[in-house]
């Protein structure tokens, strides 16, 4: 193991390490801790210049105020309405496409695969004008559906790359022997491959959830009304509205950040497995 396990070092080093980790963590998360503390401060504290001290009392009411005085509840609902169908749609499309690219031998498969890979990395700005036009033409501008359609398409690129490599790593004999038995291709997909894909599906579900929930750009480009705006864009407009009401802005920020954080803690193993896929083997 690298570095040398701290257990093999002197007691002094062990103690030093045990103190250093939380200390570094504290500095690392300082901006977050500042925001969390601020979100719990009564308005009077900020007016009196108590920016970094402990709150004079814990004003959990800030959180209620955010919900009462702003459409943040609606924004959060919008984000869920966009994110959940996107996860389902992108996973379904990429499972099918990844299966096709991994299992069959046809001439253009590498080309198609690399289009998915490369398309994934393009800057959003090169897509912006045409995607906005298309969404307007389809009558989906400023709707939840318009956001879902784009996100599904875009995330399918990333997910297909992942799914294809995951299926490629499966033992191919399973599929071959089923074919010899005369099992139809769709049944092979459904009954043999899909059940083995569970870890990949979990990893991608939580990743896509986080990516789409945290999207800001497309919310900005494809929506404008509070009936469709995702929470990221909504939060930014609140920031303009509540100039310097930092305790409320902080509370709203933390509310907006919560769903992906909860997802992460529930599905940590899968989340990290997804992010680091390909990073550990040569």
């Amino acid at each position: 193991m690298f570095p040398t396990p701290v257990q093999h070092r002197s007691t002094f080093v062990q103690w030093r390490y045990a103190i250093a980790v939380p200390a570094v963590l504290f500095i690392w998360l300082l901006p977050l801790i500042g925001v969390a503390l601020t979100s719990l401060k009564p308005a009077g504290d900020l007016a009196a210049g108590n920016y970094f001290g402990w709150p004079s009392h814990l004003a959990f009411g800030n959180y209620a105020t955010v919900f009462q005085n702003s459409p943040i509840g609606q924004y959060i609902l919008n984000s869920f309405k966009v994110t959940i169908p996107t996860v389902v749609g992108a996973l379904a499309l990429s499972l099918l496409a990844g299966f096709a690219l991994a299992v069959y031998d046809f001439r253009s498969r590498l080309l198609i695969f690399f289009l998915f890979v490369a398309g994934n990395f393009v800057p959003f700005q090169i897509l912006m004008v045409p995607v906005r036009e298309l969404t307007l033409k389809l009558g989906m501008y400023d709707t939840i559906g318009g956001l879902i359609a784009f996100h599904v398409a875009f995330q399918t690129g990333f997910c297909t790359l992942f799914m294809r490599n995951f299926i490629k790593a499966m033992p191919f004999e399973l599929i071959e022997s089923a074919r010899v038995e005369g099992v139809s291709e769709f049944r092979i997909f459904w009954h043999i491959v899909l059940p083995l894909m569970r870890p990949a599906i979990a990893a991608l579900a939580v990743l896509v959830f986080t990516f789409v929930w945290n999207d800001y750009f497309w919310g900005l480009v494809l929506a404008q009304g509070s009936h469709a705006l995702p929470v990221t864009v909504g939060l930014y407009s609140l920031n303009g509205q509540w100039v310097a009401v930092w305790n409320l802005i902080s509370a709203a920020s933390l509310i907006a950040a919560l769903p992906p954080v909860i997802m992460f803690f529930l599905m940590q193993r899968h989340f990290i497995a997804g992010l680091t896929f390909g990073a550990t083997k040569g």
Binding site: V117, P123, F217
Partner: protein, 326 residues
Amino acid sequence: MNSNAPLGAAEQPLPSSRTAVNDRRSAISPVSGWWKKNQRKLAPWAFLAPGCIMFAVYVIAPIFQSIWISFYDWDGIGAKTWIGLGNYAELFDDDVFYTALRNNFLWLALYFLALPAGLFLAIFLNQTILGIRIYKSLFFFPFVISQVVVGLMFSWFYAPDFGLLYRLILAVTGGEVAILADERYVTYGIIAAGLWPQIAYCMILYLAALNNVSKEQIEAGRLDGAKGWRMLWHIVLPQLMPATFIAVVVTIIGALRSFDLVSIMTKGGPYGASTVLSYFMYEQALSEYGFRMGYGAAIAVILFLIMMAFISGFVWRMMRDEKAGG
């Protein structure tokens, strides 16, 4: 694998010969026979169609449409006027373009600090003490939250008068620095905010890779008296190459995609000092400053070309591995 039971119960008659797949053809009625015969050829296209259509319509085609639009003068509503390379000529005369370009390269250069910083954090945390898993996930936190929230947090951190960093600088140097309002520091301030989640990402990549470093080689290195830096440089780092490669790719993409933080923290200001190509493009095409779709598209094309210069290297390497691996 519980759903495997119906496998044997396929409704088709079993082929007479179990080994030669092609023998199946003979025994089957004409209609389903045609499907059976061509199944292996057609199935991949049936599986690919939905994903390919969506991806082509929303990702591949728009790239070419944008290139096309960049040759027009167009406000997004009225008629398009062909002006050839007019937008590009204007762009190369535009001072803001050069500011944005310079900032983009500053982002790229400084974003690479995420690699050593992430590696350092990963090595620091690669221990098995009580509660280390919770520590690791808390360190990873910045990556999970939206850049909008990160941007707001750092704006608050930098804010004049009460910002924590502002006060710290005041206490240490006696000078007052409003980072986001100062043309000299603003881009660095935003990049620092962007590095926060990016370092977390690189850290996770390296933590995963450190897990897989060969114990035998480490032990052999120890027997040879290697430790510390020498061990890291000669024995550990070479084994971290796949992780480093992915870290480089995500760092380049992250740096060139930087939009959210610029938009949230400064809107490209003060006086356009912190703008980057992605934000400049958005501003030209879709904000109160105008609906110059053609001009915006031209900016996007330049950004795309810069990105492709890097990405094609990445895809080329993947293709090589793919061919080598069969």
